[in-house]
Each structure stands twice: as C-alpha cells, then as structure tokens.
Symmetry: C2
Subunit: 403 residues, 2 copies
C-alpha cells in the first residue's frame, strides 16, 4: 500500500506557513505501515493541482490532499478532484444544514459562499468527523482513492485518526486496526530503558502481538510506544492495556504519563486533586517553569508564583552544599509566596568543581525536604529546560509516594 501527500496552498510555497501537516501525516502513515515515497506542495492553481494529484495517483494507491477545502474562491480542491473523477459536483444537503447550524450556534449569519463547502464530487462520501465547516472527502477512483482533508491541523488530525488511516488499511486488504499508546518516561536513559525492556521486546517479537519502540524526545522525555494490530478497537485496547501493565511493572515510577500528557499537566492534576499549591525558585530556570505553569494555570490557583534572582544572593551559600542550597531556595520560595510546597533548581556556584550540566533540584514539603544532584546537558538553554522537568518530576514522585 502506497500513499502520497499533496499539500495545497500558495502560502505554503511562499513560506508564509510551514507545511507541518505533511510531516505529521507522513509519521502516521509510517506508524500504520503504509509507504509514502513522495510529498508535494502545490499552489492554489487548478492545472498544477490536477497535475500533482494525477501523478500521485498514478504511482501510488492513494493520495491525501491537504488544504483548499475552505469557502473562498481560492479553495478549489473539491473542483479539481471532481474533474479528475470525471464527475459533477452535488450539493450535500445534510452538510449544508450542518454548516448553517454551526454559524447559527456562533450567533453569526452564514455568508452564502460557505455553502460551497457542502458541494461534493458525485460518488465521493464525506468523512464523519467534521470539527470545522469543511467536510473531508473520500473519493474513490477505480480501485484507488483520493482523500481530501482540511489544512487546519486539528481538523485534519481528527479526520486522519477517525477515518483515513483505517480506510487506507482496509483498502490495503487489511481489515484490522492499528492502535498505539505512548508511555511517557523521565529520568531513565534510552539504552537503560531498552535494556530493561529487552526481554519483553523479544517476547513480543516472537508472539507478534504488539511492538514496542523507543523515541528520545528531548524535554518530552523518552517515549515508549506500544503498537498493536487487532481485529477491532476493543481487541486492540485489551492487548495494549495488558502490555502497558507489564511495562509499568518494569519501569515503575519512571513513567509519568501517557500519550499527550506532559509533566506539567500531570503535576498540576496531582496537586489540584490533593488541594495543594506550590511555588518555585527559578534561579537557574529563569522563568521557563513559570511561563509553562501559568499557561496551564493562568489564575495561579495551584502554581502560585516564583522567585527569579541571580545566583549566590544567599550570603551563607558558599558554606552550603549544592543540595542544601537547593532545599533552602525551595523552602524560601514556599515561605515567601505562602504555598504548601516549594521546588527549586540551582546550578553550582562559580568556582565550585562540578562536571558541566550538574544541577541541584529540591522539593520542600511542609514536613520534609529532599534534594537530588542530576547530570543534565551542558548547553545552558537545554540545561534550563531539562532542569524544569527534572524539578517537577521530583515533586511528582514525592506526591505519588504520599498517595
């Protein structure tokens, strides 16, 4: 099964928008075991679009056209596909009514132009998922197919996951579904994870039930992806859940979340559930932690503030160990801002002998405090970002121990 991507839009060629959609689609196709050998960007020009789509259809089994489904005169993907199919456009009354409803729901009058979005090439079907006003299309041509999805990333993604990927695999003669789950880990190296899971990976290789893959993703940690192919969603879910349980036994607390969860969302949810607030000493991290937390908690309900000040402002600092200084900074942030918990990340003082990338993180709880010395990347920008996640991770571990 081969599938190409044709991204449509003059703004893509002019560099006004970076084409992240094709990259994302390419990744999803690879995960679904579908080959994609060419990806093309073309402007809003009927002849050139037709040329690209026809060529892609000749050398592959399927084409995903991304973009050009909007309501304006520039948006001609529908028309070009109809021409390639050799059919007329038919107005889909259900879609038309749905688009009207969307506008009314927003208290706005629908410009008549928008009804163009309800025009569908005869013989094409619309994709059930429709988060915006642009319906996606499945357009069969002989034993091949053109999919049309909007250029708005979240709309495109919903349609890809809800319809296109499974449809592609069915057409490839595979009625099964492919599902995956990402277990997010922090604080354990990629090779250490690979070693810990080696037996499990081998066992799966033999059984063929599922696969496990690792992906180092910078400050997003190392992702462990479980992928399985099964008859339907329920069967896939059962296999993934069983595999997840086995991996959790092996990796334990290194796993901080799944799929789209981040360290920030996980820590925030834990604190919210427990009714606890926290503050941070951002001497090293210079506001990065605050900007991330306040984006998720803009009213500072859980994350209540930070202190950002130069190193060594504590006059007794030189007599203290790095970890003690971190505890002192965390406690100070907690007391100054008046929260239940304080966290801190500090670099060594000037003149102290530590390997580059050494960072001290600490958590100060009402009844106790704890610090760790960690080795992070030596480049400042990466060290700072890693220190944010490492400090939050220490807090997460203490919270999860306390239940």
């Amino acid at each position: 099964m081969r599938c190409e991507v044709v991204a449509v839009g003059t703004e893509l060629l002019l560099g006004q928008i970076v084409d992240t959609n094709s990259s994302w689609i390419g990744e999803q196709l690879a995960l679904a075991g579908i080959d994609s050998h060419f990806q093309t960007k073309v402007g809003d020009n009927a002849d050139r679009m037709e040329f690209c789509i026809r060529q892609a259809l000749e050398r592959s089994d399927a084409v995903i056209c991304c973009g050009g489904l909007g309501p304006t005169q520039d948006d001609i993907t529908r028309d070009v596909i109809a021409k390639i199919m050799g059919v007329e456009m038919v107005r889909d009354d259900k879609i038309a009514a749905h688009i009207r409803d969307i506008f009314e729901g927003r208290g706005r009058v629908m410009p008549e132009n928008n009804l163009r979005q309800a025009d569908v090439p005869a013989g094409a079907s619309t994709i059930a998922q429709m988060p915006g006003t642009a319906p996606g299309l499945v357009c069969p041509i002989g034993d091949k197919v053109i999919y049309a999805v909007p250029g708005v990333p979240h709309e495109m993604r919903e349609m890809m996951h809800g319809t296109v990927l499974d449809d592609l695999r069915r057409r490839g003669g595979d009625a099964s579904v492919i599902r995956s789950r990402v277990l997010r880990t922090w604080g354990y190296g990629e090779s250490a994870i690979a070693e810990t899971l080696a037996e499990r990976v081998d066992a799966l290789d033999e059984s063929g039930h599922a696969t496990i893959a690792f992906q180092a993703s910078g400050i997003e940690g190392i992702k462990v992806r479980i992928t399985t192919k099964a008859a339907d969603d329920a069967a896939a879910e059962a296999i993934i859940a069983a595999e997840e349980a086995l991996i959790r036994e092996l990796l334990g607390d290194y796993i901080f979340g799944i799929d789209d969860e981040s360290m920030e969302t996980v820590v925030l949810a834990m604190l919210r559930e427990r009714g606890l607030s926290f503050a941070a000493a951002e001497n090293l991290t210079g506001g990065i932690l605050s900007s991330r937390m306040t984006a998720l908690d803009p009213n500072l309900e859980v994350f209540r503030g930070a202190t950002i000040a130069p190193h060594g402002t504590n006059q007794n600092a030189k007599a203290m160990s790095g970890e003690d200084r971190a505890v002192s900074a965390a406690t100070n942030a907690r007391d100054m801002i008046g929260t239940d918990i304080g966290i801190a990340a500090l670099a060594p003082l000037e003149g102290e002998e530590h390997p580059p990338g050494t960072v001290f993180v600490a958590v100060s709880l009402p009844d106790r405090a704890e610090a760790r010395t960690v080795a992070l990347p030596g480049v400042l920008s990466r060290m700072r970002s890693y220190a944010v996640i490492t400090a939050l991770d220490l807090l997460r571990k203490r919270l999860s121990e306390d239940g």
Copy 2:
C-alpha cells in the same frame, strides 16, 4: 524565471524532521521575484530522487536540491546529479584539504568516508560559502541549472544568500542584486503604518528605486521591508539607507530595530550601555518575560529578576486605577529585587469593566514612573505575549528619550 525545490531525506517523509528549509527557500525566491510552483519531498532513494529532479528540471529553469550532501552512504544527492548531468565524479582536492583541515582544527581524525563530500560532478562548481563540511554545488545542465545545498539550515541559508539567489537572478538575465532591510515596528497598526507611508510608497512606485512592503508578524510586530534592485551591494546599500532615513522620519519611535533585532535584544543593549538593571512584575505575563530575558542574559546582569504572584495580592488594589496598580507593581518589583528600573504588566481586576484585552503596563524609574492602558488581543496566550513586548517597548521609549 522558475525554480523548484526538491527536499531530500527519508526522515522528512517519515515526519521525524519538519521540512522548514523548503518554506524558507520559497520565501527567499518570492522576495527575489522568482516563481516557485512546486516543492517536492523525496526519500534517500536514487531512482525516486532522479525522477523528481528530472521532472523539476523539465518544467522549470532551475532546481534547488536541499539535503543528502553528508558523508554517509545514504547521502547520494551528488551521485544522482552526476547521473542526470551524464558525467563522472571528480575529487576536488581543495575541498578535500579543507575538510581535513576542519577535522584537524577540531582535534579529530577524519573518517575516510568524509572525503566523499569532496567528490563533485564534472562540470559542476562548488559554492564559495562552506560553513560545514558539505560543499554546495552549482551544476549547469544546458541552459538550466541544479543547485545542491546541505540540509543543515544555517549552512543552506548562508549558501542561498551568498551565491544561489544572485546566481539565479543572473541566469534570469538580471545582473543586478536584490537586497532588503526590515524595519521592526511596535505599537502602530498595519493600516496606520500603510497610511503614514502611503505617499512614500507611491513615490517609490513611480521612481522604481525600491519597494516597501508591510508584514504583520504577531509578537514580532509589524515589519516594514525595504527592497531594492541595484547594480551591486554598494549601490543597493545607498538606496536602502536613504529610504530607511525617510521612513524613520515618518515612523519615528515606532521603529525599535532592524532585521534580526528583537525587542528583547534592543532593550538589553540599551540598558547594558547605560549600566542600568531592571526587574519585572509578571503578574499577568507569568514568567514569559523572564524566560525570554534570562535566555539572553543568563547571569542576570541586566535583567535581575521578577515577581510572579496572583492578581489582587495588594490589599489596596481595589481602590486604585489599573495604571496606578501597574506603577505600584513595577515599583514594588524594582524595590524588592533592588534594581534601577521596574516594569509591570497587569490585567484588570475581576469585576472591573474593561474591554477584553485591556492591559496596564508601567515603567518605574528612580525619579519617575509612567503607565499606559493598551488594548491587546483578548485570548490569554496572545495577550500575555503581547503584554511582554508592550511593557518592554514602554521601557525602550523612556530610555531613548533620556538619551
């Protein structure tokens, strides 16, 4: 003159890397007045690369191949181009020596593989700019041309600006150079700028000396781009300098910098020059300002810290106007952290009647304070980012008035 872009690399198709190079090249081609109708991504596969490059060469006058110039067996762009040219590869001894020098300079032994990078299709010339170990190539084929540039963005950009764009225009029969300068503005709407500069734009339309274009760029402000075509660099520089002077007369203090300067770098440089330090009250901006400033000033030499705390922690707040509260917060940050200057950005208190997006910014100097009420985008994430720049801009204006 038409030029296509072929981006090479299986990792691009798999979505492991987003192809930002093609977008950037597309933008540069547009600025140079060169049409680009198709951009293609293809994997590290000789046959498919050959197909894409040949097709691009058929329908356009020039092709820029980006990527596949590294030292490994995967890197086959050179070989594919030699095949299309119908020539052998020739080792370029100067390039070989240069690559050896680079490795020796880094105290490393050069793997023999790396000499593959010194192999050049016969008849091709190497691009003078060579910031890495991969030489760029200019490969004439009849009256058309293939350029090969590395996939490493900064290497590619240096070669594009140093050689490819001018060469393309010369081949298009235009021996002149195109140069541009961006004047960065903040605080003045796009239509207001367009109106203010309307006469100047008209005058340029008549004289044909240069063009002025506007680009709204979110928190980067509105960019005013002066572009000119001239016989050489010196002539272009003279025209741009004269035009810049005229625009500065019209836009005055709305211009905060040029080209790659940002509000942060400009403010930091002004404070450094004057030996002044500053702190911020990040009640609304939640650490965004700090993370930006500390990235540029990691030792907190000029930006010395911030306070981040929930709104309304000041018990007298309700009796004060928004601007007075902003001044009070800025002064408080200055006094608490012990700096020369404090700045602040605050949102209205709950229950106060202001249009969505209303923000109060203030600067507190040793001898006086000043506040402004501004209307920013109502969505919180954008409001916060805009508030950071607006507060810094108020500081910039006060500093530049004081000389």
